[in-house]
Structures are given as C-alpha cells and as structure tokens.
C-alpha cells in the first residue's frame, strides 16, 4: 500500500477542506450524486455527510441551494430566482449553407444587390434567405442602386460585426489571408488569372 501513503489520511483533512472537495464534486457532476458516489470521489475514508450538511447551511438563502432529492444531492438555482434564467433558454441552430454564403457575399461585397449576390453564388437567392438575415439583425437594406430598376442593396450591420468579433468590415481577411490561414485548398488556375479582390 505504498500509493496510499501518498494520499493524506482523512484525519489530516480539515472539515473546510472536505467541504471544498464536496462543493467542487457536486458543481462539476453531470448528474445528481448519491452519498456513496461522492464518497467514491473523495480521498479514501472521508465521509461526505457532515460536509453535505454544512454546505446545505452555507448555501441556504443564497442564489444557489444544495438540494437533496431522494438519495441524491445537486446544486440548484433558488426557486424564487428561476425567472432570471428564462433568457438562457435559447435553441441555437446553425445557419443554412445558403444563408451563410449569402451573408459572406454581403460582408465581402456589400452593398450588394440581390442580382450581385446571385452572380457570386451562381444560384438564385430566395427571398426567405435575405429575410432571415435581416431578421437576425446581421443584414439591413442599404441605398438603392442608381441603375435601371433602382434595385435595393444589402449591407451588414454593427450587430453582424459584434457577433463575429470583428472591429470593422475591413478586417475580414482577403483571399490570400484565407489561404494562408488554411480556409482554402491549393491555388487554382482561376485564381492565377487574378480574380478581382473584394472591395476592402
């Protein structure tokens, strides 16, 4: 039992130290834990029960309480504060490929008309895609283009910059940056013919 000699004996542990341990174990646990499960995680010979009682006292009346349900223990938000967590409940879904591509074109080439977005993407852009980006607050209408038909243009918003952690639209990497950072494959013939770079 050489290994055991390395671990401090339970009698050496101050109660506050066992409290810390139980507190961390319950905080990180993926599910409520039984006394036996907590004891299993503690150094051999530690009894978690006195610590659980002390912690229940420590957390009483606080924003988070240590609750016992059946034979298990878990931290839970105080019932009177649960309304504060409502905003947490957001189901995030990844943007569709059409939407993210459209957003990228607007970001790099904006102000861009629908026809221009379609030209870069090579497919038609559905009304819903642009509407979704406008609704997300990442794209808004810009000035109308002073060409026949006066088409509407689309530009990105400050909320877009905020979401993607950009300080200005000019900070988007150009094609060379993208390749260097690993977002692109090998150089292609087409690029060797020097496609015009997006407007900075």
């Amino acid at each position: 039992m050489i290994a055991d000699a390395m671990i401090p004996e339970p009698r050496d542990l101050a109660p506050e130290e066992i409290d810390r341990m139980v507190e961390a174990i319950l905080f990180a646990a993926l599910a409520p834990l039984t006394v036996a499960e907590i004891a299993e995680r503690l150094p051999p010979g530690c009894d978690p029960r006195p610590a659980l009682l002390r912690l229940q006292g420590t957390y009483e009346g606080r924003g988070v309480n240590l609750l016992r349900a059946g034979g298990t223990y878990a931290f839970r938000t105080a019932p009177d504060l649960r309304h504060l967590l409502v905003r947490e409940v957001v189901e995030t879904r990844r943007l569709s490929r059409a939407a993210i591509e459209t957003l990228a074109v607007v970001a790099y080439h904006g102000p861009a008309t629908r026809a221009e977005i379609e030209e870069v993407r090579g497919v038609s852009v559905s009304r819903g895609t642009l509407d979704q980006l406008v609704e997300l607050g990442w794209v808004r209408l810009g000035r109308r283009r002073p060409t026949p038909g006066r088409p509407a243009t689309y530009v990105t918003t400050d909320a877009f910059l905020d979401h993607f952690g950009l300080e200005s639209p000019a900070d988007l990497p150009n094609l060379a940056d993208l390749r260097a950072a690993g977002f692109l494959g090998d150089p292609t013939v087409q690029e060797a013919l020097s496609l015009p770079d997006p407007k900075p």
């Binding site: 990180a28 646990a29 409520p32 931290f75 409502v86 947490e88 990844r94 957003l103 990228a104």
Partner: protein, 253 residues
C-alpha cells in the same frame, strides 16, 4: 574567438531526423543548445560552422533539404566569411549586428517555446478546472436562434471563391488578334494590290497604337500574308533583315 573548439560533434541522429525540424531556425536552435550557454552569448561563428557541417553531412547522406535550409546555409556562409575577415568600415550593417540579431532570434524562439509550454501547463478548462456539470435552463420558454461562427463565415466565402476550381483552363482573349481574323481582313483586299503594300499600314483599326496589341496584330497579319502566298494569291518581299515586309497580288502567270 575560436569557434571550432566550441563546436561539438553533431549527433548522427540529427542528420537522419531532418524531417523533425520545423525549418532552419528550429535546426539552428537545436544546434545552439548543444553549446550550452546563454543563447545571447553564443558563438555565432561556431554555430555557422555547425550548421554548414550539418548541411554537408545531409548532402553526403543524400537527404534532400528544402530550399529554406539552403538559403539559410548560404546566408550563414556569408556571415561566417564576414565574421572571419577584417570588417570594412563602410559595410552596412556590421557583421557583429547580424550575428547578434541571429542570437536574439534564437533566444526569442526558445522563449516563445517555453511560454507555449507554460501555457499548456496552466490549469486548463475541462481538464483542471471544470464548468458546471449540469447547466440549468428553464424548459418552458424556447426560442430558436440561428447562429454561425466566424469559421463558418470565412469557410463559406473561401468555398464560393474556389467553387470553379476545375473549370477548364482558358486564355484571356482580350488583346489577341487571330490569324483567322487577319485572313478575313486581307482576303478581300489582296486582289486590288497590284503594287507593293507595307503590311504595317494594314493593321486593323485600333490595333496599331498600343505595344502588345500592335505586336499581336502584326504577327497575325504576317501569318495571314504567308497563308495567302501559300495559296498562290500573293507575293511577299523583304529587302533586308528587319526591313518592312511588303505584299502584293500575284500577277497571273
């Protein structure tokens, strides 16, 4: 300073394991560590000798080294010769500065590597420090939020810009005048050319001004002229090398 005394033998494994190095600076740093002194006090002369000896042995083992290793070798050979020869006062920058700069860069690379190691040894999230195991969310109000990361955005744009990767190669046709075009232009004219006409006067309109367009049109017109001669419709004449080329209709035999 005597660099040879300081230069220890290069372990054979170094030569064999050249693929393990991340570029010439990394190799230099490994060699420099064998001098076992503060990197900024290192003998650059000894280091240059070690590196060049390394390159020689790699060549003897027929190990192909990337171009940047060779560029570094050339630079070190140059630095070595400058450190050995008496310095011309006019030379800029002084060899001593170059040597000090190399030492600084090696020390900085080593310092950044140490920093990287220390960073990895920090109490890391998910390993040494854990987040709440059961984050709490109220189940009753659910709202769908669409999201995308910067990585998604940049990848999407990169994808768009390279979608036509495998489009067949095509020349940019702007500024090219073909022999077919020149033939179409000369064929209706040649019948009227009983006298010699300088080809230069018969370039198509708008092609005689700029250099590259004029060259393209001249070459095409000349090729078309040769074709007309081959067909027996025209005669061609040049009086001397580089003299103007003249063309006229071939008189009936």
């Amino acid at each position: 300073m005597d660099g040879t005394a300081l230069a220890p033998a290069i372990p054979e494994t170094l030569v064999v394991d050249v693929d393990g190095f991340e570029g010439p600076l990394d190799l230099l740093l490994t060699l420099a560590r064998s001098q076992k002194v503060d990197l900024r006090e290192i003998s650059i002369l000894a280091l240059a000798r070690q590196y060049l000896a390394f390159m020689e042995r790699a060549a003897r083992h027929r190990i192909e080294l990337a171009a940047d290793y060779l560029v570094m070798a050339a630079w070190l050979a140059y630095l070595k010769s400058r450190l050995l020869l008496p310095e011309e006062p006019s030379e800029e920058p002084p060899a001593e500065d170059l040597a000090r700069d190399l030492a600084l860069r090696l020390a900085r690379l080593e310092a950044m590597r140490d920093a990287a190691r220390q960073l990895l040894d920090r109490p890391r999230l998910g390993r040494d420090r854990l987040a709440r195991g059961q984050p709490e969310t109220a189940e009753d109000t659910r709202r769908t939020e669409f999201t995308a990361s910067l990585h998604d955005l940049l990848s999407a744009y990169a994808r768009l810009r390279t979608r036509d990767d495998f489009r067949p190669f095509a020349f940019d046709r702007v500024g090219v005048y073909t022999m077919e075009q020149a033939l179409d232009r000369l064929r209706p004219l040649i019948g009227d050319w009983a006298d010699w006409n300088d080809l230069r006067d018969w370039l198509p309109p708008g092609w005689a001004e700029s250099g590259s367009r004029r060259r393209a049109a001249t070459a095409a017109t000349f090729a078309a002229a040769l074709e007309l001669v081959r067909e027996g419709l025209a005669e061609i004449r040049q009086d001397a090398d580089f003299a103007p080329i003249h063309l006229r209709a071939r008189s009936a035999p």
